[in-house]
């Protein structure tokens, strides 16, 4: 009986795909496709020009190759850059008009779109393939002046805000994948919190890649105006497919004076099967700018999915007294690979940053923490604390730590610690003696190992994440 349960759990819970007719842009990456995307989204000219400028830049950029997990060359001409459910060309006005099949998909995913939204009151913006499907709880938010909608809607309704902030944190001239995203991004979320407003609920996006051969290129832009606060959650899944799919999103956060943004991610993209076939390439650029004084940006991530995870959510601490935080749990099993970490760039005076990273690798997987702490000469009296711990299960996997530490200011302090070890036999023995089976014992110890990070997640997510940690490691013991 238990064996069967484990068997069920081992399989990827979100590995279904939905048969919905979709509209796709012609395969390939060229100016026409970009114009097609821009046209179908009825974008103003400045945005099309912006995309084309990014495309020009992309032509001279080279794909980076310094990362630890190597992957077969991606043929960018063999991808669909736009894929939208067909019934979406005329956008539904309310949830009732949505394709019932879509709603069913989300129900399977367990996102609170319809009935659940009333229960736990999370405002959700769901991105299906490339198009934002529905945004719940709009009214409650509008009353406070909060704008939470898809980025295509924001381009239409709030062009001044989009124009002012888009690309200010991740410029057009950034690295290859970020620039690719700038050229072909399809949808994503847009959040604006007006001055002095504390967002009354957790905002949330759910990403899902459905169609095959599509890349998902969303762009998220969050602006917290003076003295505001927002907590934003992001979750991701994808159906099981044999081929690898590319996910290259850009996320830009901007915190003005005294504002705080908390961004949490639970990433559970399809990791590929036990032999490492298929799975998502998760090459995401996430960057936050603490623009104002006393601002704060906090990243929390639980990375359990994807064949390859390659991302470094970063903070640019520009405002004086600003704070950057990064909490991460990354779990790799089977043939998964991860190269993740953060960058803390201290520019303002009295800036503080904290990095807590927990990596767990099992099976044949490979995990790398790569981080940068850079204190510039002007960042007087700044502080950084970094701790990265790795746990290894078995001798077929690898755990690596590659921190870059640069201190150019004599009044600033940096402290960095890292350890690598395995679960101690004594702890396991103790737990088993008390009646737990080996897997439960490992689950318990791992959860304890991750606790510091799990605590940072909002309540609803923390429970899910804890379960996810357990599921990801099933079958890795004994």
């Amino acid at each position: 009986m238990r064996d069967k349960q484990i068997e069920d759990l081992k399989d990827y819970k979100y590995g279904f795909s939905t048969d919905i007719e979709s509209i796709k842009a012609p395969k390939g990456l060229n100016e026409d496709v970009i114009k097609f995307i821009s046209n179908i989204k009825k974008e103003p000219k400045w945005l099309l020009d912006w995309r084309l400028k990014a495309f020009e830049r992309l032509k001279v950029l080279k794909e980076p190759d310094w990362q630890k997990p190597k992957y077969p060359k991606i043929d960018y001409q063999d991808l669909y850059y736009y894929s939208a459910p067909k019934s979406f060309t005329d956008k539904p006005k309310s949830l009732d008009e949505l394709d019932p099949k879509l709603l069913e998909t989300y129900k399977k995913l367990g996102i609170p779109l319809q009935e659940q939204k009333r229960l736990n009151g999370i405002a959700v913006d769901a991105v299906f393939d490339s198009v934002s499907v529905a945004t719940t709880f709009k009214e409650t938010l509008t009353k406070q002046g909060i704008i939470f909608c898809s980025i295509s809607e924001a381009v239409q309704k709030h062009p001044e805000l989009v124009k002012k902030y888009l690309g200010t944190v991740i410029p057009l001239t950034d690295h290859f994948f970020a620039t690719l995203n700038s050229a072909v991004f399809t949808d994503g979320s847009f959040v604006y919190i007006p001055p002095g407003v504390r967002c009354p609920m957790e905002l949330s996006t759910y990403f899902r890649i459905n169609a095959s051969d599509t890349g998902q290129f969303e762009r998220t832009l969050i602006i917290a105006d003076k003295g505001s606060y927002v907590s934003y959650l992001e979750g991701c899944t994808a159906p099981m497919r044999d081929e690898n799919q590319l996910h290259a999103a850009n996320v830009e956060l901007i915190a003005l004076d005294d504002a705080e943004i908390k961004y949490s991610t639970v990433q559970n993209w399809y990791p590929g099967d036990k032999d490492g076939k298929g799975g998502i390439y998760n090459f995401v650029t996430k960057r936050g700018l603490c623009k104002g004084t006393n601002s704060k940006i906090s990243w929390t991530q639980v990375e359990t999915g994807s064949a390859i995870t390659w991302k470094y959510p970063s903070c640019i601490l520009k405002g004086d007294n600003s704070i950057g935080e990064f909490y991460s749990i990354a779990i790799t099993n089977n043939h998964q690979k991860a190269d993740t970490g953060t960058k803390m760039i201290h520019l303002g005076k009295n800036t503080k940053s904290k990095i807590i990273s927990k990596g767990i690798s099992a099976g044949f997987s490979d995990m790398t923490y790569r981080g940068l702490v850079d204190i510039s000469p002007n960042a007087t009296n700044s502080n950084n604390f970094t701790q990265c711990d790795s746990l290894l299960m078995g001798n077929k996997c690898g755990a690596h730590t590659v921190p870059y530490i640069k201190n150019k200011n004599a009044d600033s302090n940096i402290a960095h610690e890292a350890t690598t070890s395995k679960i101690s036999e004594e702890q396991l023995h103790y737990c088993q003696q008390r009646g737990l089976n080996p897997e439960e014992a490992v689950g318990l110890i791992v959860n304890g190992f991750c606790k510091e990070v799990l605590q940072q997640l909002p309540m609803e997510f923390a429970v899910e994440a804890q379960k996810l940690v357990g599921i990801s490691l099933e079958g890795s013991v004994g």
Partner: protein, 415 residues
């Protein structure tokens, strides 16, 4: 520069009598160097120190040809009188004198004919450069069970009117079973603005012990690079201590392959920098079998516009269970313009290991200064006392008493 390189290389080949095998070896290395050139910041290992740039701004155009047929005057070189020692004197890259005056001559063999090249040629382009231009091959073998009575001092000297802007030297060492060697490197820089490239290749047989102390203390304007390749068999111990202080630029690279069980490697270093000096230590400890151990400790005191870089890497292969690896770096920044960069790296493929690293950098602790001043010391004295204690930690790691005292007196550190 490529023109100059080619001309100098031709001269070098012509004027010295090399065997065909040696010629071949040199030519291959030279081709490889031409292909790669001097390392720059695009290479991961040189990210924090762009050697190409450093040579350009500090030296300008390099020349490479040294007339090794000419005798150098070695009497002028000031020898260290503090302790009795055996010596090797290298002037402008040429080994002028090998003298094991305190030792049993039967127990030490000096080879001058190059046999098969044992390690791969392509470590980096600077080793290629070294192999292409360095003078006659030299390998020193310490026989089984022989423990050298006195330490061996290697003087790296340059003449005031040295012919070329680049000197290369290489010595290979082999320590047979149970042998023990204490090796001290000392620099006598009479020239300014030279690029000095040193390459040591050590083979440590079972239970042998190597202690290598590199002392770069006197002020000079030279740019230096030193590479130690250490291959260790079971139960062998290697200890490397680097005092990095005097040169304009100095990068010390230590590569240690722990190939035998219960072998261990220790790398300790002090950066004591002033002015616009820029120094780096890069270590690569490869744990390749079970039950090996490594320990690294690097401390820096940085004044004025100086810059120190520490890149320490611990690699643990999947066979190397029960590895114990530790790495710690601390830095004190005393001036607004000083800079400390670190990249402590762990690459681990085995699960039953104990590996950790720590790194910290910052200013002197205000509270400690306050405490000392409240006890009657002035600011300068308080600062000195704290730095003294900070550096003493590393010096205490030196296992050889004689040399420990020598380094203490050089640094002006008291107990």
């Amino acid at each position: 520069m490529e023109e100059q390189l080619k001309i100098d290389f031709e001269k070098n080949l012509k004027n010295l009598s090399y065997s065909d095998q040696e010629k071949n070896f040199k030519e291959n290395n030279f081709k490889e160097f031409l292909k790669q050139g001097f390392p720059n910041r695009k290479l991961e290992n040189w990210k924090f120190s762009d050697l190409n740039q450093i040579i350009k701004s500090n030296i300008g155009d390099l020349t490479f040809y040294n007339d090794y047929s000419k005798e150098n005057q070695i009497d002028k070189i000031e020898l260290l009188n503090e302790l009795e020692h055996n010596k090797i004197i290298i002037v402008d890259g040429k080994i002028e004198k090998i003298d094991f005056e305190f030792e049993d001559k039967n127990k030490i063999e000096v080879l001058v004919e190059q046999s098969e090249e044992t390690i791969s040629n392509n470590i980096n382009s600077l080793i290629n450069l070294n192999n292409a231009f360095s003078n006659k091959f030299c390998k020193i073998i310490i026989k089984k069970n022989y423990i050298l009575k006195k330490p061996l001092l290697i003087y790296h000297a340059t003449n005031k009117d040295t012919q070329s802007k680049n000197t290369n030297s290489r010595i290979d060492f082999k320590l047979e079973e149970n042998a023990c060697l204490r090796l001290i490197d000392i620099f006598k820089d009479n020239s300014a603005k030279n690029f000095i490239n040193i390459y040591y290749n050590f083979e440590l047989d079972k239970s042998s012990i190597l202690k290598n102390y590199k002392i770069d203390k006197t002020r000079n304007d030279n740019v230096k690079y030193s590479y130690n390749y250490i291959k260790q068999e079971s139960n062998s111990i290697s200890e490397t201590f680097i005092l990095s202080s005097g040169s304009k630029f100095f990068k010390n690279e230590i590569n240690c392959d722990l190939k035998g069980q219960y072998s261990s490697a220790f790398v300790n270093g002090i950066f004591d920098l002033d002015d616009e000096n820029h120094h780096e230590i890069k270590s690569n400890i490869n744990h390749l079998v079970e039950n090996t151990k490594s320990y690294q400790l690097v401390k820096s005191v940085l004044e004025k516009k100086s810059k120190a870089v520490y890149q320490g890497k611990i690699f643990v292969s999947s066979e190397a269970q029960k590895t114990d690896g530790y790495q710690l770096s601390n830095a004190i920044l005393l001036s607004e313009n000083s800079e400390f960069n670190a990249k402590p790296e762990l690459e681990i493929y085995a699960d039953d290991v104990k590996c950790s690293h720590g790194s910290s950098s910052g200013s002197l602790d205000e509270n400690s200064i306050f405490y000392l001043m409240s006890r009657g010391l002035n600011y300068k004295e308080a600062k000195k006392l704290l730095i003294n204690g900070f550096l003493l930690d590393v010096i205490e790691k030196i296992t050889d008493e004689e040399i420990k005292n020598l380094i203490k007196s050089l640094l002006g550190v008291k107990e």
